[in-house]
Symmetry: C2
Subunit: 405 residues, 2 copies
Amino acid sequence: MAAKIDLIPDGSVTSAAGFFAGGTYAGLKTQGDGVLDLGILLSERSATLAATFSTNRILSPSVTVSRERAERGSARAVVANSGCANCCVGDQGREDAVEMAALAARHVGVDPEDVLVASTGMIGVELPMALIRQHVGNVELTAEGGHDFARSIMTTDSHKKDLAVSVELDGRRVTVGGAAKGVGMIHPNMATMLCFIATDATAEQDFLSTALSEAVDLSFNMIDVDGDQSTNDTVLVLANGAAGGPAIQPGTAAAADFQEALTYVCTELAKELVRDGEGAQRLIEVQVSGAASESDARVAAREIASSSLVKAAVHGRDPNWGRIMMALGKSGAQMDESRIKLFINGIQIVHDGKAIPYSIDAVVGAMGGSEVTFGVELDIGDASARAWGCDLTEEYVTFNSAYST
Amino acid sequence: MAAKIDLIPDGSVTSAAGFFAGGTYAGLKTQGDGVLDLGILLSERSATLAATFSTNRILSPSVTVSRERAERGSARAVVANSGCANCCVGDQGREDAVEMAALAARHVGVDPEDVLVASTGMIGVELPMALIRQHVGNVELTAEGGHDFARSIMTTDSHKKDLAVSVELDGRRVTVGGAAKGVGMIHPNMATMLCFIATDATAEQDFLSTALSEAVDLSFNMIDVDGDQSTNDTVLVLANGAAGGPAIQPGTAAAADFQEALTYVCTELAKELVRDGEGAQRLIEVQVSGAASESDARVAAREIASSSLVKAAVHGRDPNWGRIMMALGKSGAQMDESRIKLFINGIQIVHDGKAIPYSIDAVVGAMGGSEVTFGVELDIGDASARAWGCDLTEEYVTFNSAYST
């Protein structure tokens, strides 16, 4: 972590001032100890809003409704459910998304148009609105409710994913908290990557949008579990200014520090999503350096982190560098084969495009940990990028071949 | 098969007149009953040549040497080895590819520049040239040697893949035979999809190139096993004119019939590659119709056939149509969700974008066969396309996670 950012112990989306959240069990998922499936995140005042959504051509109406409302650039609350994606259900889906937002708005006492909505779970099943009508009033919103909110958006995640950091901007301490769930289509039908970020910084919409784009480009856009993309992906940030002070000005030191905090929160959550990938036993980090351009570095890192063969090799602790070269070449990034260097957890195994003598035992041993790092030095430029994936295991196939039936 | 094309019983690359082929065991692979690893395909006369190669930025020198020689538009022979990809081995790789071609040329008595070369197998290992020098002379070229040639290019393929068809063009019977192996990077390190087609038709280079492009676009470019692309992929066709007659003229009935034969051979071989995919138990055929454009139909079909989640669902005989919708939407093809219809082996399960009542038992039963067909009717245009994939099984992961070490 950069020196200026402080991790807040036990942090969540309600670590930032002026945010309240909570979750309840409404019966959308199988009941169990601590299972929640309906949550609300509320700002005490109107918050500047920036958001990004799935680019899938098939979208949940929960996404299309939120996307329309996000154009206003501000919001008060988000209501989210797990257990049902509200997708591929015809016109009913939009009616239900609008009603769910209205129910939450009435409960927390804000304008329905100021409420965004997110859904994650089974595709092709209508939202059980009777349950949502019955239970939305049970969502107790508190300044300590961030963890419950994080729990309410889980599908097959093995644990909730949230954190918060603080950073000093022009003498004021500002907090950025976030909660996320699932990843891409890794949890099949239980589609969707959702991430909600709450900050008490003061920010105008243009600045916040740019900051979110940059953070997402370096985090959620650089992870891959199975190459699929859900119909419901949503990442949004609410900035309510409760920390006080003027709006962050682009190009200032405060802007850079805020960016660092936002990117840190997104990156940690993104890595957590991959680490918790279906059947995953290891996190793979790919570091590409010496690329001719940033876009080359990004596509090369992503292609390696996304390769089924690389993922399977990591599962088997197999330093199968031919697969890394294959994925690298397939990326289309500019390269000179005779300059390429490869490293596994810091141990060099390829120099100038050819294998060099190395201890197989040392490399296999290094690949036995919970994180495996592939370093790729292209040595033709100055650009670099990082991407993350997880290993491909038999459990992934077993889980995904025996899901709905 | 179209009415005019006749399948030749026990056909191979030597079914076409004027082609000779053979294979031998040179010690590049583990010895075993019927194992061959070095083969030559020879035309008795100069043949018109068209070829396509991997677009991976990391290429085997066997590919780069062949690609340069293919620019001449004609060739006499191809020498191919399995067990070693001749890739990522530095400058030695090019020297070895050139020498392997020269050794084959001397053995069959043709100009070395008229010989193309192909390699498939382990990446990062130099060709064992001493073995190739010693054994190339043992390749016995005969008019019945097509099957041995097909066997000599196998890596982890479970069986050889070849066939031949004949078609009457302007009163003359013309034969098109082909041999193929492996698929993409499915056989890891044992990289590579190779396909060699031999025809006694008379064709000029422009026509042959266009015909091959069209056939490959409808066959090898529409299959997916694991989304990876090898460093050694090669598809080439030799047309030696031994059947007699003038060169096929573009736009004529003969051109259309030849195209049909060539596409048929490529499609059957492509499907055979997928069917033999690592760990695969089922062939998946995706038929997209009613698309706004051919490119939309193609990308939609390919995206569905390539989705890990769709592949895993087929493995589990799970009619998980949400995943098909997800993959379809991810393709970016133009669509109107409310018009989409989905069929599994002819049984409709989605109408106008929503699930309709169907018998789960009937669909699960239909998915138990060796082929599963997904029909996707977009209902917004006239374009259609087909793509093929295989199911994703635990065996794929097991095999690929325990390969080289």
